[in-house]
């Protein structure tokens, strides 16, 4: 149902309809990804898009329950920041970063298990969504509390430096989450300590229903970098070539000991906040303007123009991947659900059963 606005309560000012962002062609030739890299980037972006399209479909079929946040429209940013990372680097992602998860080693099967809350999933059904990241892996599993992973990312960077590891840390945050204190505390300390961290703001114009015009008053969020004493810049977050380049430069800076970088990646959230949300609050003109900047289509156009792929190739790749993903969905779906009694297990790493106070429920026979 469209929202009714009384004269006293006009809608929040929407973000300005952006002029076409500058195109990646402005990048000096030596900084362009190689043809092989471009094709690899495309494979990741396509995979992210198709996995998320499956997830949306499964949500509609009620096979996925709970919050369902998609990164459709954010693929260039999520893939672009992860692509230049080295094996020893650590990713601390958030909820629009399917592309980064896939680049850094999570499989589509693992993702579907997690969304189906299967016993075999990384969280065994205890958590859901993109909260993935096993012990010992270089991906840290997010919690829902916004901006809460930024201090953790900084702690990871501090720990790796103490251990003598030359690791770079990449973490993300929304335009909305950039208003929390944890954001400020993290950027400030990372700069004081000159830690090699890339803080990426995925500035997708909205935080749930709140437009950026109600979120901050500075002209660009990257302007904040100066206040913290770090390098900051804006990037067209729908152009993967530019994002990869910005992330590469941030890594070079960090590894040279020049400290953290703040990257304001300007994108658009092309779906509702979560799949229950019809996002009627987004003006049609704004949505349409951004539709022309679909990150996947922009890259595909470029591949064709540069003769790296034909439209027939693109079609073929999409189809083959679709078949693979359908299999992964079926496989994950068929796996068993966790047993109810798992609910109270693994709260601690070290626990002595004698410590568990009886809940009384055992006596009433309600345990499963």
């Amino acid at each position: 149902m469209p929202r009714r606005m009384s004269a006293d309560y006009p809608p929040h000012p929407a973000p300005p309809v952006l002029p076409p962002p500058p195109l990646g062609a402005s990048l000096p030739a030596e900084r362009w990804p190689s043809p092989d890299e471009l094709l690899a980037i495309h494979r990741s972006m396509l995979r992210a898009r198709l996995v998320e399209e499956r997830i949306v479909e499964l949500y509609r079929q009620n096979r996925i329950t709970g919050g369902c946040y998609s990164g459709i429209g954010n693929e260039a940013t999520a893939v672009g920041i992860a692509f230049p990372m080295h094996n020893e680097d650590v990713l601390v992602p958030t909820h629009r970063d399917m592309g980064a998860h896939l680049v850094r080693g999570h499989s589509a099967l693992e993702v579907f298990r997690q969304y189906f809350k299967r016993a075999s999933s990384q969280t065994g059904g205890k958590d859901s969504g993109l909260h993935l990241g096993r012990e010992g892996s270089n991906i840290v599993g997010m919690i829902s509390h916004l901006a809460h992973m930024l201090p953790v990312a900084v702690g990871v960077a501090l720990a790796e430096r103490q251990k003598g590891n030359p690791a770079f840390v990449v973490t993300t945050v929304g335009d909305g989450a950039s208003s929390l204190g944890d954001f400020h505390e993290s950027l400030n300390f990372a700069a004081v300590q000159k830690l090699p961290v890339l803080f990426v703001i995925e500035n997708n114009q909205y935080a749930y229903s709140t437009p950026i015009t109600l979120q901050y008053a500075c002209e660009r969020l990257s302007d904040r970098a100066k206040g913290y004493g770090m390098f900051g810049e804006d990037v067209d977050g729908t152009d993967v070539v530019l994002v990869v380049d910005a992330a590469r430069r941030a890594r070079e800076r960090g590894m040279r000991g020049e400290g953290p970088t703040l990257l304001n990646a300007v994108t658009m959230r092309m779906r509702g906040h979560s799949e229950h949300d019809d996002f009627k609050y987004v003006p049609k003109a704004l949505f349409e303007a951004w539709s022309a900047y679909d990150p996947l289509l922009r890259l595909e156009k470029r591949l064709v123009e540069q003769h790296l792929a034909t439209t027939a190739d693109l079609e073929r790749w999409r189809e083959a991947l679709g078949i693979e993903l359908d299999r992964a969905v079926d496989e994950a779906w068929a796996e068993p659900e966790p047993a109810g009694a798992e609910a109270a297990r693994d709260v601690y790493r070290r626990w002595d059963e004698s410590w568990t106070p009886p809940t009384g429920a055992e006596r009433w026979g309600s345990s499963s």
Binding site: V90, V92, Q122, T123, K126, D127, H131, L132, G133, R134, E135, V140, G141, I143, H145, H148, L150, P151, V152, A153, V154, G155, V156, A157, L158, A159, E160, R161, Q162, K163, G181, D182, E185, S186, N188, F189, V192, D346, V347, Y348, R349, R350, W351, D352, S354, W355, T356, P357, P358, G360
Partner: protein, 325 residues
């Protein structure tokens, strides 16, 4: 053998664990050259260097979150809150982030947060907090609250070696008043989740922890002269807590009094009382009583604080009520 203060026991525990294990490091405000607001880290920067004694800006959420991040990468951070009260600024990182990693992803978070807690020093509403119940209600966190120098030493060492996040409540009131002989090497370790019987007795079980212990022991010693034998149980750990030792004692004595310096509603004293009411009802000859602070912020002025805090007289009073049954 020479006696060591409670605060020095804490300092020594950190030094010993840092020497034993390279992955242990300290993080907090003013803990470097200055040695911390209570001097718990005095001399440690000079000894271990700035990589392992990390001074931070005033940013409690950051201190907690950085500790989580370092812990999941295999280090063992020991974070200091300047006062327990300021843990509220880092509450969410501790409860939501540190407390859930293992449950969600089986990722171990071996961190310790030291909280200089409690009243009795005229600190007023913002420098006297006993926040243990908040953290006992947060699954995934362990909570310890030593009352003696030996326990402060041994529990902090165990907490640092533990693979889970531990909230370590230390008592400002005990820092320089409480003294004891420390053990060395692994003999010093005090296991988490194990209570200590501070006084044996047949007539009444008095369960307490932290600042409550010296009050309880004083009451027990005073009443012994009148022929009332009180068994004082010092819980030492609150999460996990040693409910078995408490139940066994109540079985013997038939009476339970619980003492906590914290405010009453939803306190850990309430948890002990509820547990014994459910599982030890058959042993009880009298109602369970709690001696706690009233449900108010901690007042600053000395008459007000004296009225507010539990003390030996209040305990003796409560015991006399229970002994009528």
């Amino acid at each position: 053998m020479s006696e060591t203060t409670y605060i020095e026991a804490i300092r020594l525990a950190m030094i010993e664990e840092m020497e034993r294990d390279q992955s242990v490091f300290l993080i907090g405000e003013d803990i470097g050259h200055f040695g911390g607001a209570f001097k718990a880290t005095q001399g440690l920067l000079e000894r271990f260097g700035k990589e392992r004694v990390v001074d931070t800006p005033i940013a409690e959420a950051l201190i907690m979150g950085v500790s989580v991040g370092a812990a999941i990468r295999g280090l063992r951070p020991v974070a200091e809150m300047q006062f327990a009260d300021f843990v509220t600024c880092g509450f969410s990182q501790l409860v939501e982030n540190a407390g859930t990693f293992h449950y969600r992803l089986k990722v171990s978070v071996p961190m310790v947060v030291r909280l200089p807690s409690g009243g009795g020093v005229g600190g007023g509403p913002y420098h006297s907090r006993n926040p243990e119940a908040w953290f006992c209600h947060a699954p995934g966190l362990k909570v310890v609250a030593p009352a003696t120098a030996a326990d402060a030493h041994g529990l902090l060492k165990s907490a640092i070696r533990d693979p889970d996040p531990v909230v370590f409540l230390e008592q400002k009131w005990l820092y320089r008043r409480e003294k004891g002989v420390l053990q060395s090497g692994d003999d010093a370790l005090v296991p988490l989740g194990k209570a200590r019987v501070a006084r044996e007795g047949r007539h009444l079980t008095l369960v307490t922890y932290a600042n409550g212990v010296p009050m309880a022991v004083e009451a027990a010693d005073r009443l012994r002269a009148q022929g009332i034998e009180i068994e004082v149980i010092d819980l030492r750990s609150l999460a996990p807590w040693d409910h078995q030792t408490v139940l066994a004692s109540v079985e013997k004595t038939g009476r339970l009094l619980v003492l906590s310096e914290a405010t009453r509603t939803g306190s850990f004293a309430s948890e002990v009382a509820a547990h014994v009411a459910e599982l030890g009802f058959e042993s009880l000859d009298a109602p369970i009583l709690r001696v706690t602070a009233p449900d108010a912020p901690t007042p600053s002025e000395k008459n007000l604080e004296a009225y507010f805090r539990p003390n030996t007289e209040k305990l003796v009073d409560a015991v006399s009520v229970l002994m009528r049954y």
